[in-house]
Structures are given as structure tokens and as C-alpha cells.
């Protein structure tokens, strides 16, 4: 009812001569539905329908090459539980996501704090740190594959200072570390810019007041900066965590999941099963697992908001 009053008086009456039910309010509702319709139809067709189909497929045995689409109930899930490769895949996924999120957020924060100092020329450095975001992802990754080769640029630079680097992409630990660092360098500029905007939004008076009270730099950072930018930290961490679970191109170009299966993360394993081994039923089951992980992590982070996000808009 309040909605009627919120529309201006002149628009409440129906048009003279028009049918009585065709009120301005109804017309506005129709406009709302029509404006949202493309997005709603897209959500139904390209998000919700595939989500439903994903669960449906996961209950079937379905090899695209062999043909046949037969109901097998929970068999794919039993296979999932017993898949000897899965523990390794989940370990790689966890290592990648934790490493990426930790390095990305801490580096973004450090860079943002450095750029927030009153220095001339910070715009130049901001541009530099942000520039990889504008470089084509696969181009960036190809260049790094090239630099990280045994006789590539990184080891070339190391040899100039007399050090000998490992064959980065061929060792299990260095391959995972390389994939993480390459991905962080590519995208850390995004989070850095968001942190920088948040830092610049912290009222200066808060710092001045606490300096008068005798607080040191570290105390000021912990007691003022962190709480004030905590909403941004939460938002960027959610986006970065979900993004870390989607990483495919970098893995495919840098390591193809290797050496062995040490960098085969869940998305890559799902791609291999569905599109290289043509096992759509098991691919869909792995998709369900990926969806469950994204869902659980997002809910956990959303819950954490109550604990440590101090002020909310």
C-alpha cells in the first residue's frame, strides 16, 4: 500500500478511457518485470537449468563416444568416493586456492599501503602493478611458461647474479608455486585498486586522534585501518576464493596439470574427464563436488562477516 503513495499523485489514476485495472502502478510493475526479463530469462536458461541438468546427469552413466544414457543412481558418487586420483586432486586444489588467496590478498594490501603513502609518482607504480590485468590472460601465461623454462628468462636472470634456478615447471613443488605466482601477478592489481580505494576512504581524523593518544604505526594499522577496510577484505576474499576455484587456462598452458598430477586442480580434472575422456556422467558428478565446495566456502565467509567485519554500509 505504501507503494501506491510513493508514486506521484498524477500517475495513480488510469488513463482516461483505458480499462480500470490498467493503473499507473500496474504499468510500473510491468516495466520492472520487462527490465529484469532478459537477466531473469538468462538466469533460468544458462544458470538454473544447467544446474538442474548437472544433478540429473550425475545420476547417469553417460559416455558420449560409447553412446547410451542409463540411470545408475548413486554409482557415480560411489566412484567419486573411491576415485584413487581424487585425494591428490583435492590436495592440489586446496594448495592452489590457499596459496593464491593468501599471497594475492597480502600482496594487494602491501601494495595498496605503499601506494597510499604521500609520494610523488605513485600513479606510475599503480599503473605498473595494475597493467597485467589488461594483458591477455593466455599471452601472459605463455610468456611466463617461456620465462620459467629451464633455459628461460628467469634462470637467465638468476645466472647473471651467479645463482642456478631449478626447472620450475618440471618439479612438483616449484610447478605449483609457479602457477600460483603467475596468477597472483596477473590479477593482484584488481584487489590492490579496491584496497587502495578503501584505504583512502578511512577518515584522516581517526589517525590524527590516535597519534595524539600515542598509538604507534602498528597499533594504528591494527586498530583503525584493518577494521575500517574489513568489508573490502571480505568482499575481495570471497571473489578471490571463488575465482581461485575457476582457474583453468593457466593450468592448461603452464603445466597441463603436471608434472604427474601435481597441479591437476578440480576444474582441470573435471575438464579432462568430461571433454578428454568423454565421460559426461562422471564429469557432471565432479561438477556437483565443485559446486558444493564453492557453496560451502561462500557460506563460511559470509558467516565470518559477523565476527570480524566491523562497520557495514
Amino acid at each position: 500500500m505504501t507503494q501506491v503513495r510513493s508514486t506521484p499523485p498524477g500517475r495513480e489514476q488510469s488513463r482516461p478511457g483505458g480499462p480500470r485495472w490498467w493503473t499507473a502502478r500496474r504499468r510500473d510493475h510491468l516495466a520492472g518485470f520487462l527490465f529484469a526479463a532478459p537477466q531473469l530469462a538468462g538466469t533460468a536458461l544458462f544458470v538454473l537449468l544447467p544446474l538442474g541438468l548437472m544433478f540429473w546427469y550425475s545420476l547417469h552413466d553417460w559416455n558420449v563416444l560409447a553412446g547410451g544414457f542409463t540411470w545408475t543412481g548413486g554409482e557415480n558418487y560411489e566412484r567419486l568416493a573411491q576415485d584413487p586420483a581424487l585425494p591428490g586432486v583435492l590436495r592440489a586444489t586446496a594448495a592452489f586456492s590457499i596459496g593464491l588467496v593468501a599471497l594475492n590478498l597480502s600482496l594487494a594490501l602491501v601494495l595498496a599501503i605503499l601506494l597510499d603513502q604521500k609520494l610523488r609518482g605513485t600513479v606510475v607504480f599503480r599503473t605498473i602493478f595494475f597493467s597485467p590485468v589488461a594483458v591477455t590472460l593466455v599471452a601472459w601465461t605463455i610468456v611466463w611458461r617461456f620465462l620459467l623454462q629451464d633455459d628461460g628468462g628467469v634462470n637467465g636472470l638468476l645466472s647473471v647474479v651467479g645463482a642456478e634456478g631449478p626447472n620450475w615447471l618440471r618439479g612438483e613443488a616449484t610447478a605449483m608455486a609457479s602457477v600460483i605466482v603467475v596468477q597472483v601477478l596477473k590479477n593482484v592489481g584488481l584487489n590492490m585498486v579496491l584496497f587502495l580505494a578503501a584505504l583512502q576512504g578511512v577518515p584522516r581524523e581517526l589517525y590524527e586522534a590516535s597519534t595524539i593518544d600515542g598509538a604507534g604505526a602498528w597499533t594504528r594499522f591494527r586498530r583503525i585501518t584493518m577494521p575500517m577496510i574489513s568489508p573490502t577484505i571480505l568482499l575481495t576474499s570471497i571473489i578471490t576464493v571463488v575465482g581461485s576455484l575457476q582457474v583453468f587456462a593457466q593450468i592448461d598452458v603452464l603445466t597441463s596439470g603436471g608434472p604427474g598430477t601435481s597441479t591437476t586442480v578440480l576444474v582441470y580434472y573435471l575438464y579432462q574427464n568430461a571433454f578428454q575422456f568423454h565421460d559426461f556422467g562422471y564429469g557432471a558428478t565432479l561438477s556437483v563436488l565443485l559446486f558444493a565446495i564453492v557453496l560451502v566456502l561462500t557460506v563460511i565467509q559470509w558467516q565470518m562477516r559477523r565476527k570480524w567485519v566491523v562497520h557495514e554500509d
Binding site: 544458462f46 597485467p132 591477455t136 617461456f146 573435471l270 564429469g283
Partner: protein, 285 residues
Amino acid sequence: MKTERRTTARSRRARLALYGLLCVLAVPFVFPTWWMVTSSLKPANEIFAFPPSILPSDPSFAAYGRVFEFAPFAAQYLNSMYIAAAVTVGTLAVSSLAGYAFARIRFPGHNLLFLVVLVGLLIPSEVTIVPLFQLFNGLGLVDTHWPLLLIPVFGAPSVLSTLIMRQFFIALPAEVEEAGRMDGLGRFGLYWRIALPLSRPALGAVAIFSFLHSWNLYLEPVVFLSTPEKFTIPQALTQFTDAYGGPMWDVQLSAATLSALPVLIVFVIAQRQFVEGLAHTGLKG
């Protein structure tokens, strides 16, 4: 007087240290791009020279010519350009309309429907790639550009754009639309004539996001496309291999440079709007 001089000396030292730190940190961000561009101008044997040469000794564009010999790279470049442009325009239209509706029109169920749309944030297209493939397969649209156009504009990737637009439109004061109502503008008029012109920063951020997202898209082309003439740049870049499957570095680096440099130059020129557009959206939290 004396203490003042001492603090300026100390602050100058601190400033120098800060500049030094920033320069060291900048190396891994700049070096790959620098290396890509200069190596593309080197002959293949110089690319692997020890110690590495910072500038090509005898710059040559020969590898660039071979990019177009080995692959239909011009067609692939055009594919990426037109798909990214169409996705950008489409996303701007879909997400600004939906964002406006969810922010400013109180139609029945608008909160519930907005929550349903937000589900897309939890379901990146990587999760649903198997059913999406089957869906487009059923429509006979595999090995066409339709999946690369439709999924980003209408599917999960556009949800973040809609969220940005909604946050922006919510913050517009009600008075700015009052004047338009007095002039007899309908809903579309209010959206087109008043809300949209005021939302340039948000539109800019959405345009950048959706362009880069489409330009970088890799999984979808790999899954959906099989004809080289239909490939987009990211997929095309991985195809420059010799008869033994080893990469042809000089050609690959030239193609990579061609794909990255135009966008990078646009970014450097427009970087103020670029960066500030991103920072001043609802994303800031």
C-alpha cells in the same frame, strides 16, 4: 631548527627506501611484458641467448609475418574483437536494465527475484560447463560463436555487472528522477534519459570487466570450438607449434604481443578512468 633538519633527512631516506622497494616490486610486473615485446623482435636463436639480451640486437618483424602464415590469425583476431565488443554492449544493456529494475522499481517479488539472480555468483560457468555444452549441442550451436556470446551476456558472468549497476542506481537520490517524472517521462525515459547518463563510472567498470572477461575467455572456446577459423585469440595462441608439438617461440610471442599490446596501450592511455571506475563501484564494499 636542528631537529627539523634531522627529520627531513630521515624522511628523505625513508622516501628513497620506499621508492627502492616499489622499483624492486615492479620488476615481475613489467619484465614479462617487456620480454614478450622485445623477444618477438628477436630471431629465434637470440631468444634463448645467455645471458639474455635486454634489447634485440637486430630487431626484425619477420616472426610477425609468419603469425599470419601459420594460422588464420587475422580471422581469429577479428573473432575476438567482435565477440568482445558484442558481449560488452550486450552486458551493458542487460545488466543496466536489470540493475535499474532491482534498484528502483518496486515490482512484486523484486527481492526474491534478485536473490535468484545472485545465485549466479555461486555458479561460475566452469561448474556447469558439461550441461551447458549439452544444451548448445542440442540446439546445434556447437562450433559456432553463439555460446561465447550468450553465456557471458545472459549467464553467470553478467551477474556481477548487474550487482554493480544495482548498487550504483540505489545510491542515486530520488529527487533526480522527480524532475523527469514532472516532465512526463515513463520508466524507460527515466532509465534512458536520467539514470543512465548519471551512471557513467559504473557503466565504465562494467564495460571493462565484460570486455576483459570475453577477451580472456579460454575454457568455453576450447570446449565449444573446433574449426581454427572460428577460434578466438586465447585458443589460437596455444596452437603455434612445430611439427613435433613444440612451441614456435618467436611466432607465439609475436602473436601474444599482437593480442596484448592494443589493450595494454588503451589501458595506459585511459588508466585513470579505468582504475577509478573500478574503485568507485559498489565493489568497494
